[in-house]
């Protein structure tokens, strides 16, 4: 049986989740807020707010480009967390997961990091380069502070799948294919049996990401898991509107963005 509520009670659904990813500050912090609002309107249940990083090892060229644009806006871990109350003010009510590489967290220090998450009202954290074996301390702290520490599991996690799944909080991020973000995706029999295995051990919803970019992908993932994570595809939609933003056609661009997302996850 899946846990009924999490993210400080803000997530009450345990299936059919839509979890979008955006990079804070891509192309500006103000627009990140607008995208979040449109994503929520299109049915997003949790927002992954990405912190741009100079050396994103798990990301392909699409998210690398987004990170570069955001870094040009001087976005940082501090500023990304401080964006959360601004999202709330604008009307974003869904839980926010801060998605950051580990090094910025080390520089901030665990104490300050959790203090900031609490002060600014972020309900979750995901650190893609902090595997289970290295995350014991921060998982403990997160639990103590009531912050969901999101774990990832991959097809080649193998004997570790059970251990990772059993300790998962919030939702479990299932990497559907080997590779960096933004790759192509096909649900092979192997992938399906992997997701099945993860679900057997997980107490929290199992969401699938990496390579989800069409409505067909979304339907397929929905059928076999508890939620769909979409990152690179959203970034590419944002990239497609960059020129419109520069030309001052913000409203039209945001409406097109909403329609695209709506079609993608309908």
């Amino acid at each position: 049986m899946l846990t009924q509520t999490s993210f400080q009670g803000k997530l009450t659904k345990t299936e059919d989740l839509f979890i979008p990813f955006v990079v804070a500050g891509d192309p500006t912090p103000e627009l990140t807020i607008q995208f979040a609002l449109r994503l929520q309107k299109a049915g997003a249940d949790i927002l992954e707010l990405g912190v741009p990083y100079s050396d994103p090892l798990a990301d392909g060229p699409t998210i690398q480009r987004a990170a570069q644009r955001a870094l040009q806006q001087n976005m940082s871990l501090t500023k990304a967390i401080e964006l959360v109350p601004k999202l709330r003010e604008a009307g974003v009510e869904i839980p926010v997961v801060i998605f950051t590489y580990y090094n910025p967290v080390i520089q901030m220090g665990y104490d300050r990091f959790f203090e900031m998450l609490e002060e600014n009202g972020a309900e979750g954290v995901l650190i893609p380069d902090l595997p289970y074996e290295e995350s014991e301390e921060i998982r403990g702290l997160a639990e103590e502070k009531g912050v969901e520490f999101i774990s990832l599991v991959a097809p080649n996690s193998d004997t570790r799948i059970k251990q990772i799944a059993e300790h998962a909080k919030g939702f479990l991020y299932c990497v559907s294919t080997l590779g960096v973000t933004g790759g192509s995706n096909q649900m092979s029999a192997e992938t399906l049996s992997f997701i099945k295995k993860v679900k057997e051990h997980s107490q929290v919803p199992v969401a699938v990401g990496f390579g989800v970019s069409t409505n067909e992908d979304v339907q397929l993932v929905r059928e076999h898991s508890d939620g769909v994570i979409i990152g690179s595809k959203i970034i590419r939609l944002i990239e497609g509107e960059l020129e419109a933003f520069e030309n001052g056609q913000e409203e039209e661009a945001l409406e097109r963005f909403y329609q695209e997302i709506h079609q993608l996850v309908k």
Binding site: S54, L152, D158, L178
Partner: protein
């Protein structure tokens, strides 16, 4: 009792570990198991040493730099001649070890990152020799600086992949190699060129490079009957230094690692990671690195492509913290003067990387006594640097 590093979690004290995306945890586990099995198999070790002797030309000589010692008027200077290793640098020792391991694991394709191109050449060489496919990731700036090595790699049958992200140097090439490995780990072996990266790489590369220190110790005792007072090696990622220092860690020799100070450690343009950096995570390992207050990794600078790296091997971070090794830094200018001096006095043109170790050693040698001895790891030869040197010395004229 002496503690053994790395420990079971791949830690050297506070440093090391595995800070990688989940998709790499499986391949790293597979690698660690295969490595442990290979290193405890005498047949594998015999094969490794056989290839080093019969193919690479080891042991490399220990040369006494008599003219130079006399001219500087201080300590007796000995050079461990890794420049005489096949392909012209110490890098091949590690590439042979990992190449044999890749074969043993049944992996037919290898990938490698390279800065100066020496590790790329070494990888391409073992790929040719052992019948493996080879892709080398190299930053576009380094491709420009090291044209000759790019051609060598291609001639050896490797595919050179140009990396344009970041500054187009070693850091970016390493990111891209890791990303490629994440997506292709099932049939690819990632042959890392230095004592960096997630566990078990720092240990593996050290163990395939310690042949430098093991040989040096034996050779030095044969000619001097006692160990050197000081031992110098240049440090980028730190594999030649780790290979040289490791067998001497329990001995009363003073060990000195020399980083690249670029245009000076008080300018933003340097690669002096331990001297100026702070602890954090880079390329899957907890170590010292160059970063800004927000934890974004900053771009290093050095005239030498092989030292132009914002991190350093985690074992060096540990040896720095515990003060078992002294770390100094040398500017581009000082390195080039030392390069010239060695060339003129001893007829050996060293790599610009190596010249950093030479410069620090020459400074100190002059203040030591003729009864004292020093050993410098001459990690590579300067043939690959001719274009850079021509550019530099022509500018001076």
């Amino acid at each position: 009792m002496q503690q053994v590093f790395p420990d079971i979690k791949g830690r050297f004290g506070d440093f090391g570990g595995k800070y990688v995306p989940e998709t790499l945890m499986g391949p790293l586990q597979e690698l660690e198991e295969a490595l442990d099995e290979a290193m405890s198999d005498q047949a594998f070790l015999d094969q490794y040493h056989h290839v080093l002797k019969e193919y690479a030309g080891r042991p490399t000589s220990l040369s006494y730099a008599d003219k130079l010692s006399k001219q500087l008027g201080g300590a007796k200077i000995y050079l461990k001649r890794e420049d005489l290793n096949h392909t012209g640098a110490h890098k091949l020792n590690n590439a042979i070890g990992q190449g044999l391991l890749a074969k043993r694991m049944g992996k037919k394709k290898i990938i490698a990152e390279t800065g100066a191109g020496q590790h790329g050449v070494a990888s391409a060489t073992v790929a040719a020799k052992f019948g493996l496919e080879c892709k080398v990731f190299m930053g576009e700036e380094d491709i420009r600086r090291q044209e000759l090595n790019v051609f060598r790699m291609k001639l050896l049958g490797a595919e050179v992949i140009s990396v344009s992200s970041g500054n187009g140097t070693l850091k970016d090439a390493t990111n891209e190699a890791i990303r490629y490995w994440v997506a292709n780990c099932e049939d690819h072996f990632y042959l890392i060129g230095s004592v960096v990266g997630p566990h078990p790489y720092p240990r593996m590369v050290r163990d395939f490079q310690r042949v430098i220190g093991d040989e040096s110790k034996k050779q030095f005792l044969e000619v001097e009957s006692e160990l050197p007072d000081r031992i110098y090696a240049c440090v980028g990622g730190g594999s030649n230094a780790m290979g040289m220092f490791y067998p001497f860690l329990q001995d009363p020799c003073e060990l000195i690692g020399v980083e690249a100070a670029g245009k000076g450690i008080d300018t933003p343009e340097h690669a002096a990671t331990l001297t100026k950096g702070t602890p954090g995570v880079i390329h899957g390992s907890m170590t010292y690195l160059m970063q800004d207050v927000n934890g974004q990794i900053t771009e290093p600078y050095s005239i030498s492509a092989g030292l132009d790296y914002p991190g350093i091997g985690p074992e060096h971070a540990h040896l720095f913290q515990t003060k078992q090794v002294r770390y100094e830094s040398i500017t581009d200018k000082e390195a080039l003067s030392a390069l010239q001096l060695l060339t003129e006095q001893e007829g050996i043109i060293p790599a610009i990387e190596t010249a950093h170790a030479l410069a620090q050693a020459f400074k100190e040698a002059a203040e030591m006594t003729p009864e004292q001895t020093i050993l410098i790891n001459l990690s590579g030869r300067g043939d690959k640097d001719m274009a850079t040197l021509m550019e530099h010395f022509q500018e001076e004229e």
